[in-house]
């Protein structure tokens, strides 16, 4: 569109100052008690208040300056009409297609690249904390994406299925009767070596079963009611795990969970271990690299299956359900079954991820399955752009990778002294980032929908038209 740029109005500094003073006043009101006075306990357990005027005025001053600068920035950009990207171009789809291919390729060489640059001892952190950790969340995000992104069912208790998978594997693998039975039937080394590979599908099936079990009663619920009941279910499962000590070990959790073997070859320093078998020098890095590829394959299976499902009648029914449930029913679609399959399949992938998590950690406890995890997975799906696989990947890297990077803040101690604990600020920043990212991209990073079938030309559907579901 040809448009004359409107004459830029002069920046109204008085107005900006007024805004900044107002913001500073609000900040003063908010923080004068919460920051300006600190509650402390003396040695004889007396509560005292410690005034911190310096901190208070620093913060208020920062708010004043910040508000002024933001206002100024907005004022000088006000005249420009934001150039929006043209809606629904096939380009976005191409990026998704080739971007995904390139990214998968990158993932396969990632451990080698890291190994090459950081050496065996430095690489573990990068492969484990960043690679494996992020891939677990990608897989969880893709699993939840089926439920939330495709079927439009808001699930705030997804971590429950993750927990079901993890505990299924942990309990089966450490169960004495099973171990003894297997030892008697096949041989003493069989179960510890193969437990993961046998239990992985079992964990998925059990999680899917729980998905149906929890899904069935909540089918009639809509929107936020569904969200709150799934949250309640998530909490119930966690509380039962905490309290039913005989079953799950309670807060103490389950430890010495067998690690996955390289299809029967364990990763240890013995002669039958992986390193010795393949004539390599023993180092823990092999196990980490192997785990990396296991979760990569698991995640890719999730991606392939969910991409295929989308193009099948069941996947189309999920999306139709998200768009308009009543219309679905008028077309003869059994919405109960459709919702249950979404719950079950989403839960199944959560279960796989859970089993992998237990095997990777070697130890699990209810602490790993708190609501915050569900919230984080949901945030990944929403920030990624509902229904977009690539979006989930980017969001996982940003959120999970970002949180991991914040662990590297220890250098700040050099500036703020040893009493400064950067770990405290990690979650503070994480929370702030969640808010900011939503303000920045409420529709998610990838906000186009790819049609599942086309006649002549595949055109992306702008997210403005895509509904978010009411269930």
């Amino acid at each position: 569109m040809m448009m004359e740029a409107p004459a830029r109005e002069p920046v109204n500094f008085v107005g900006l100052l007024k805004d900044a003073v107002f913001a500073a006043a609000i900040a003063f009101g908010l923080f004068s008690l919460m920051l300006g006075l600190k509650t402390d306990q003396t040695l004889n357990n007396q509560m005292v208040l410690v005034p911190r005027p310096g901190l208070l005025f620093t913060v208020v001053g920062l708010v004043f300056v910040g508000r002024f600068l933001i206002g100024y920035w907005q004022a000088i950009n006000a005249g420009k009409i934001k150039k929006r990207k043209a809606a629904a171009t096939p380009l976005a789809l191409k990026i998704e297609k080739y971007g995904t291919a390139a990214f998968v390729g990158f993932l396969f060489v990632y451990p080698m690249m890291v190994l090459g640059t950081a050496g065996p001892s430095g690489a573990i952190k990068w492969i484990d904390n960043f690679g494996i950790q992020i891939l677990i969340y990608i897989m969880l995000g893709w699993g939840l994406n089926i439920v939330v992104g495709l079927a439009g069912l808001l699930d705030l208790g997804y971590v429950a299925f993750y927990a079901v998978g993890a505990y299924s594997y942990a309990l089966l693998a450490t169960s004495e009767p099973v171990k003894e039975f297997m030892a008697g039937a096949i041989g003493p080394t069989f179960w510890p070596l193969w437990a993961f590979w046998i239990c992985l599908p079992v964990a998925g099936i059990l999680a899917a079963f729980w998905g149906v079990l929890l899904g069935f009663p909540v089918l009639r619920l809509r929107g936020d009611y569904l969200a709150i009941v799934t949250l309640a279910f998530g909490e119930i499962i966690r509380l039962v795990l905490i309290n039913w000590v005989e079953f799950s070990g309670g807060y103490a959790g389950i430890s010495s969970i067998p690690r996955p073997s390289f299809f029967g070859v364990p990763f240890n320093a013995t002669e039958s271990g992986f390193a010795a078998t393949f004539g390599l020098e023993f180092t823990p890095i092999y196990r980490t690299i192997f785990l990396f590829y296991v979760i990569l394959i698991l995640a890719l299976i999730t991606a392939v299956v969910s991409t295929r499902l989308r193009r099948l009648p069941v996947g189309r029914a999920w999306e139709a359900l998200r768009e308009d449930e009543i219309a679905c029913r008028s077309l003869g679609i059994n919405t109960v079954n459709t919702k249950l399959t979404a719950f079950a399949i989403g839960a199944m992938f959560g279960g796989f991820a859970g089993a992998f998590f237990a095997a990777r950690q070697g130890f699990i406890s209810p602490e790993s399955f708190v609501f915050l995890e569900s919230a984080q997975i949901l945030a990944i799906v929403v920030l990624g752009g509902m229904g977009s696989l690539l979006g989930v990947v980017i969001a996982s890297i940003l959120l999970v990778g970002g949180v991991e990077l914040l662990r590297e803040l220890d250098f700040l101690k050099a500036y703020f002294g040893d009493n400064f604990d950067p770990a405290q600020y990690r979650m503070l920043i994480f929370g702030a980032c969640m808010v900011l990212m939503m303000l920045w991209k409420p529709r998610g990073l990838i906000s186009v929908r790819e049609p599942s079938v086309f006649l002549k030309e595949k055109k992306a559907v702008s997210s403005d038209l895509v509904k978010e579901g009411h269930g």
Binding site: L30, K38, Q41, M47, Y225, I228, Q424, G431, M438, P442
Partner: protein, 307 residues
């Protein structure tokens, strides 16, 4: 019987606290259809503000009976003001821009806000439990049997009375005043409400402030009742209060208080008669069961499915 009566009193007191927080959830959900996840943390902040204020006043005026009462009153009022300011700011910063966009965006923003507030308090005030000296310890003995004394404390009487009074006032405001009508109109169709001359932004801001003021009352009472607060105290009471709001029928103020009472009673009785470990499981299970069989909650109006 004695145990039953005593648990009934305790349960109703706890329920009143949940009920007051639940009103904030139900009002915000009622008007913009979002679960304000940060509301539990707003409640926690209100308890902290009350704590700091109480300590400041008693540090100046001493711990005599009159001074304690004064300190409590000041703490309540200041907490209501500061908490309202927090709630207003949260709405302005984290939710207003997302209004009318994607339904999940404000939910995620709220969850982020909740994490932010909780960790802000941890950073600003430390991670330890913050106790206050025991106050208002006097009780009224109701009756005694076989050595078991059934008593109600002044604190409990105060909490129950304040809850009843506030419920009455707020219910009147929402049902009978133009403000309440405007709130209900915004709840159902913001664009149309604006066409009819309603200042939607202001109405929503007022709703957040009202909810926060009630949460501040709950927070102050929580502090005096339990005598301790910690930065993570927002989540569990928050979830339970939201549960209460849903249980009572979202959008209904009496429903929120009723739901709060039920959750409080279930929790206390379950702890007393069964197992304290599973009290939260019981509360959540009841929620699930009620919602499955009565999706509109106890006092909510059933929605006729318009085809």
């Amino acid at each position: 019987m004695e145990v039953f009566v005593q648990q009934l009193i305790n349960g109703v007191t706890l329920g009143a606290v949940y009920g007051l927080i639940a009103i904030g959830y139900t009002m915000v959900f009622g008007i913009i259809g979002m679960v304000n996840f940060a509301h539990g943390d707003v409640f926690m902040i209100s308890a902290f503000v009350a704590l700091i204020c109480f300590m400041a006043v008693t540090a100046l005026a001493g711990m005599t009976g009159g001074a304690v009462f004064l300190a409590l009153l000041v703490a309540l009022i200041v907490s209501m003001i500061v908490t309202s300011l927090f709630s207003w700011t949260i709405e302005r910063v984290a939710y207003r821009k997302l209004r009318g966009s994607f339904r999940l965006a404000p939910l995620i923003s709220a969850i982020g806000m909740s994490i932010l507030l909780m960790n802000f308090v941890q950073v600003a005030q430390g991670a330890r439990n913050k106790p206050i000296p025991p106050i208002m310890r006097d009780t009224i003995r109701l009756f005694e049997k076989d050595g078991f004394v059934v008593a109600i404390s002044y604190k409990q009487i105060l909490i129950i009375l304040v809850t009843a009074l506030l419920l009455g006032i707020f219910w009147y405001v929402v049902q009978k005043t133009p403000l309440g009508r405007a709130q209900r109109a915004c709840e159902q169709d913001q664009k149309m409400a604006a066409l009819l001359g309603i200042n939607v932004d202001r109405t929503i801001a007022v709703t957040f402030i009202m909810g926060a003021a009630l949460a501040a009352v709950a927070g102050t009472m929580f502090l005096t009742y339990y005598g301790v607060v910690v930065f993570s105290d927002g989540f569990v009471p928050g979830v339970k209060a939201f549960t209460a709001a849903v249980l009572g029928g979202i959008g209904s103020l009496p429903g929120a208080v009723l739901g709060g009472m039920l959750i409080g009673l279930i929790e206390t009785f379950w702890s007393a008669y069964f197992s304290i470990d599973y009290k939260d499981v019981a509360a959540f299970s009841i929620l699930a069961i009620v919602l499955i069989f009565m999706p509109q909650g106890l006092l909510g109006k059933p929605e006729v499915e318009k085809v």
